[in-house]
């Protein structure tokens, strides 16, 4: 008798779960295809192998790159991340990379290879022109342009307006501009290398 009750309840639970999944599945199938965002949530230190899987296999998790980083911008995925566990990353919203090159020099494996600071490919900065203060005429700023370690090669001002920042092709994605950006929603961010330097909005 008791067993039958348990079985009945189990069957009821399974049935209600599958019934609830039907509208969700329908909504997923009917939803339009959205372009996947190109924003990177974490950056690798400069000189990192471009292939993410190859980087995880080459990195032994010794932490040397973090220990030599002068602004302490290199941190480690120490509590999660699967195969990324104990590998270094840079969160540009907290601290950008100053491209000093010490981490590339100290890395014992080829996970970080020594690269000229102009040839580093961590990503490329994107500016959201619907949020950036000078681009929406909410005042003058230019913090990103002042802070860029590559100077005029990485980011400059728009020709027509002195304070509207424009990312140039020389940008290596170090993330210092993200660190200094005063806007709370960070209209400047780092996208994958080769992306557009302007955020494209799709409605």
């Amino acid at each position: 008798m008791k067993r039958r009750k348990v079985l009945q309840r189990l069957a009821l639970g399974v049935a209600s779960l599958s019934a609830a999944s039907v509208p969700y599945g329908l909504a997923r199938m009917l939803a339009p295809d959205r372009p996947t965002t190109t924003k990177i949530h974490y950056l690798r230190p400069p000189g990192a192998l471009s292939d993410a899987a190859a980087f995880n296999e080459a990195c032994i998790g010794c932490g040397l790159c973090g220990e030599v980083c002068p602004p302490k911008s290199i941190r480690f995925s120490d509590r999660e991340g699967g195969s990324r566990l104990n590998t270094p990353f840079i969160d540009p919203a907290k601290k950008g990379c100053i491209l000093c090159g010490k981490c590339m020099e100290v890395c014992p494996t080829d996970a970080l290879t020594e690269t000229e600071r102009e040839d580093v490919e961590m990503g490329i900065a994107q500016i959201d022109r619907t949020a950036c203060y000078p681009w929406v005429d909410r005042g003058v700023c230019g913090a990103c342009v002042v802070a860029c370690p590559l100077g005029e090669r990485g980011i400059g001002f728009d020709f027509a307006n002195m304070y509207r920042p424009v990312v140039k092709k020389g940008c290596v994605g170090c993330g210092v501009c993200v660190e200094v950006c005063p806007h709370p929603s960070l209209p400047i961010r780092i996208a994958e290398p080769g992306s557009s330097t302007v955020v494209v909005h799709q409605i």
Partner: protein, 344 residues
């Protein structure tokens, strides 16, 4: 006649008197390594404060770090921001006064994971490999920062037993760690990561100390390490090192024909079995059972009351030479043979 001979037996080879104190030297070495692992993150913090040129903006606690590290390093370095880079990293891979050193297991793990042989990286492991071939598992006994904590854990186990708690005294199969090493290396390319790095206690201890002091606190490795401490308390004394550690397995294999070995001088041994009781790895020095697991920790030399354990330069253990000549068992057997001689 035979009896007096035994009592008067001149020492076959009395060990150098300082060898009895090698165990203290080993504790000094372990403590220095552990203190360096604690110091290096603080030095890194100091370097970042120097690089920021912002002493006035530091919190009082950060100023304390700045001031103490400045006092500590000022006599040795002129440009702390760059000069202190000569002392970096952990025992897993690090830089010791400008010399890059890596754990052989790190090299094995990297080769297994990425399938590439990196000569510059391999060269950093050459000195440890060479030392292991000569001295065996010396890393486990003399350097490993996890050993420092594990031996304190063993002491805690002794206290717990005195208080009436049961601690684990199981004997598992010693060969299991070779399986762990093999599986860890074989799984690395499948998991896409250096898998042994996540389960190797010295690497974990080094990096977790760094995370805790310089970054945002302990990571997941600290949980794993606490688990190994519990394993040692509840399953077997030093159980992780003896049965599971992949690095220990690699060093055992590399040091199988090590040149420097602790050996028993059977003429001086009195069968007191203190060496077996003190051996952290549960080996059998009393009956010449050292094998490739011995990490030359010299605890048995320190405890031996008759100086019957000495270092010898030999690539192979001597076979079991039976009861010690100063012991009761040997004396009885001798008396039996002499009596037998009288009878015939």
């Amino acid at each position: 006649m035979a009896k007096t001979d035994i009592l008067m037996a001149s020492p076959v080879s009395k060990p150098f008197f300082l060898w009895r104190h090698l165990n203290k030297l080993r504790w000094l070495s372990l403590s220095i390594v552990f203190l360096m692992l604690l110091l290096i993150p603080f030095l890194h913090l100091y370097q970042t404060y120097v690089a920021a040129h912002a002493y006035d903006l530091l919190y009082p606690s950060e100023r304390l770090i700045y001031d103490s590290m400045e006092t500590l390093t000022a006599p040795f370095v002129s440009d702390p921001e760059n000069d202190l880079d000569m002392l970096k990293g952990t025992t897993w891979s690090g830089r010791l006064f400008g010399l890059d050193l890596s754990d052989p297991l790190a090299v094995a793990g990297q080769i297994a994971a990425s399938g590439k042989l990196l000569w510059p990286f391999l060269l950093t492991a050459l000195i440890p490999i060479g030392l292991t071939v000569v001295f065996g598992r010396f890393f486990c006994g003399w350097i490993c920062p996890a050993t420092f904590l594990y031996e304190l854990n063993t002491g805690l186990g002794v206290w717990l037993r005195k208080l009436g708690f049961h601690t684990g005294q199981r004997r598992l199969n010693r060969k299991f760690k070779y399986l762990v090493l093999f599986v860890g290396l074989a799984l690395s390319p499948l998991l896409g990561t250096v898998a042994v790095a996540a389960i190797y206690p010295p690497a974990i201890v080094g990096r977790e100390i760094y995370y805790a002091i310089a970054l945002d606190g302990f990571g997941i490795g600290a949980v794993f390490f606490a688990g190994t401490l519990l394993f040692d308390l509840m399953v077997a004394r030093r159980g992780f090192c003896r049965y599971l550690c992949p690095g220990g397995a690699l060093y055992s294999l590399l040091g199988r024909y090590r040149l420097l070995r602790i050996q028993r001088v059977v003429e001086d041994c009195n069968d007191c079995a203190k060496c077996n009781a003190v051996c952290e790895f549960g080996l059998d020095p009393l009956r010449d059972g050292f094998g490739q697991e011995c990490n030359n920790c010299t605890a048995c030399i320190a405890v031996c009351p008759t100086d019957a354990l000495v270092f010898k330069l030999t690539p192979k253990d001597q076979p079991d030479r039976g009861p010690g000549h100063l012991g009761r068992q040997y004396r009885r057997s001798q008396e039996a043979t002499t009596q037998g001689g009288h009878e015939t």
